[in-house]
Amino acid sequence: MAAVTGLEQPLVVPSAGPPARPRVWRAVVLLLAALYFLVPLGASLWYTIYTPTTGVSFEAYGELLTAEGFAASLALSLGLGLATIVLVLLLTLPAMLAVRLSAPRLRPVMEVLCTLPLVVPPITFVAGLGTSLRTGAEVLAPTPFWATLIAVQDPAFPIVLVLAYVVLVLPFVYRSLDAGLRTMDVRTLVEAARNLGASWPYVLLRVIVPNLRSALASASFLTLALVFGEFTVARLLGYQPFAVWIVTISGSRGQVSVAVSILSLLLIWLLLLAVSSAFGREKK
């Protein structure tokens, strides 16, 4: 052991010189970035818990957690987020695989289709959605499907929002999955698995998904973050998920409204942490 440390020492000493400068820069950059993010955050936190007359108190947060609609809107947003993730992945992954394996010439078409939602402004999107829902109801009225559009707009769990969010997150999900699929030789892996007797669902679940873990995680991240922060579509269609509730509640009192922002930030962090650990777990 002594010989090993003896060998390592001369290696470490000269290498300590050159990286010293970049390390200083790194610290500076880190410090600046930290200031940029933490100062406003700390200031808002201080504002929510401190009032000159009563001193430090967490009353604002207590009020928030007991406020009407907090749990309901949070649960709604969570449910919408999960449903969107499941639906968008079930939709895109098999479609992307199918295009890659059997119709590679359709790839540009798919790429454009999936990127389209980025170009359409949310306002236009909602306006279109509203019109479709109204006309749709009239068109479907004489058919046996008359109840579908009503069911879709159930305020307890508006499926129409899930459908809208699936469209909105399509570009992000497509990008992440595409990047993930690029890292492996999909065709060969699929053929190898088929050759070994695997059915298509087995190939998807046991071969593609495990090797696409990080891409799926980032797709889920983005979806969750987008659904939690989405305001326009939900507000205009008249639902009250978390983002809409925040705006509603914060209109009245200053401290509570800032507290709600901090809380939602923390919540989303926690959620993303949960998602990343759920996907990262089996990798080792």
């Binding site: 060969t188 053929e191 190898a192 088929r194 050759n195 070994l196 007797g197 695997a198 090797n211």
Partner: protein, 359 residues
């Protein structure tokens, strides 16, 4: 375990390219057949038709007399090793080998034992816990071979499994594949564009061109008695020399009279096909030929000789390189054995015009 494989009038067209144009071939049980041909000749397509990744437009693939053309890939009994590395990156070597058994719901203990046994068979008993990215290319292909054999398939399909490896590993692994194949007695189809590879390990070599079978036969037969000029050119190298055939079944070439292999040609004007190693070269001051280029290949030297009838390639043992540098005057003799002749294609017998000091 071993099976007979038949290709019956297999036809497959991709857009404008005809990949398979009526391929007929029968592979006997336990036989090792190499499909050899230039890229685009349809050899891989033929193999993929057996694996079920490609559907022939017409014709059929039969295994043990049963038409499997409509059987989906995952229901076929054929193990395949791919050209590109195909191990599942998320599984270690053992789990890769055991993948097929896992699909078939074989109990964990049994499939682990089987996987370890197969890894031992391919010479990687201590690598079971490594992941593909921790293995070298040769090791990955060994694991892929073990994986293909784990289900004890009736047919083993090898799609250029050695082409991504470096020369030394390639030779070692191909010998090992052959040893394994002989031990297991499994019917094997091996696709390659490397004629040396095909000749060295196959029982029979099938030469394909433009989706059609040009010749199938034992390696020595394909090499020594190529059925068509294409086979002669593709499998090894051939000299085309101007010859004069006589009605008695002999041909005069470079001043030698040699017996003709096969029927006598219609016209006395013929091309004589001679392998470079059948050309013997001796240094001589007053020799009629001159060495233009000598490329040293280790065990042998390929000489390009200029002589009155044109240029000739000759292979001589490597240790003769020193005596046969470029510019040396030599005499040329042909090995006395029957030769193949083809209708004349060399129109102008290019005479050697360069002076001796040109090179």
């Amino acid at each position: 375990m071993t099976s007979k494989v038949e290709f019956r009038d297999l036809r497959r067209i991709f857009g404008k390219t005809v990949a398979l144009d009526g391929l007929d071939l029968t592979i006997e049980p336990g036989e090792f057949v190499a499909l050899l041909g230039p890229s685009g000749c349809g050899k891989t397509t033929a193999l993929r038709c057996v694996a079920g990744f490609e559907r022939p437009d017409s014709g059929a693939v039969l295994v043990d007399g049963k038409d499997i053309t409509d059987v989906p890939a995952n229901k076929r009994d054929a193990g395949m090793v791919f050209q590109s590395y195909s191990l599942f990156p998320n599984l270690n070597a053992r789990d890769n080998v055991a993948f097929g058994l896992r699909v078939r719901r074989v109990p964990v203990a049994v499939r682990r034992a089987k996987a370890d046994e197969l890894l031992e068979l391919v010479g990687l008993p201590t690598h079971a816990d490594r992941f593909p990215h921790q293995l070298s290319g040769g090791q990955q292909q060994r694991v892929a071979l073990a994986r293909a054999l784990a289900l004890e398939p009736r047919v083993l399909l090898l799609d250029e499994p050695l082409s991504a490896l470096d020369a030394k590993v390639r030779v070692a692994l191909r010998e090992e594949i052959r040893r394994l194949q002989l031990d297991l007695g499994i019917t094997t189809i091996f696709v390659t564009h490397d004629q040396e590879e095909a000749l060295s390990i196959a029982d029979r070599v099938a030469v394909l061109r433009d989706g059609r079978l040009e010749q199938v036969g034992a390696p020595a037969e394909v090499y020594d008695r190529p059925a068509t000029p294409f086979v002669a050119e593709f499998v090894g190298t051939m000299n085309h020399l101007v010859g004069q055939a006589s009605p008695e079944g002999t041909v005069t070439v470079l001043g030698h009279t040699l017996p003709i292999d096969g029927p006598s040609p219609d016209s006395p004007e013929v091309d004589v096909l001679i392998r470079p190693e059948a050309v013997q070269v001796t240094p001589a001051e007053d020799g009629e030929a001159e060495v233009l280029v000598a490329s040293f290949r280790g065990s042998s030297v390929r000489l390009r000789l200029a002589l009155a009838g044109g240029e000739v390639l000759a292979d001589v043992p490597g240790h003769e390189a020193v005596r046969l540098a470029a510019g040396t005057r030599v005499t040329v003799r042909l090995v006395e054995r029957p030769v193949l002749v083809a209708p004349r294609t060399v129109t102008v017998p290019a005479p050697v015009t360069e002076p001796a000091d040109a090179v």
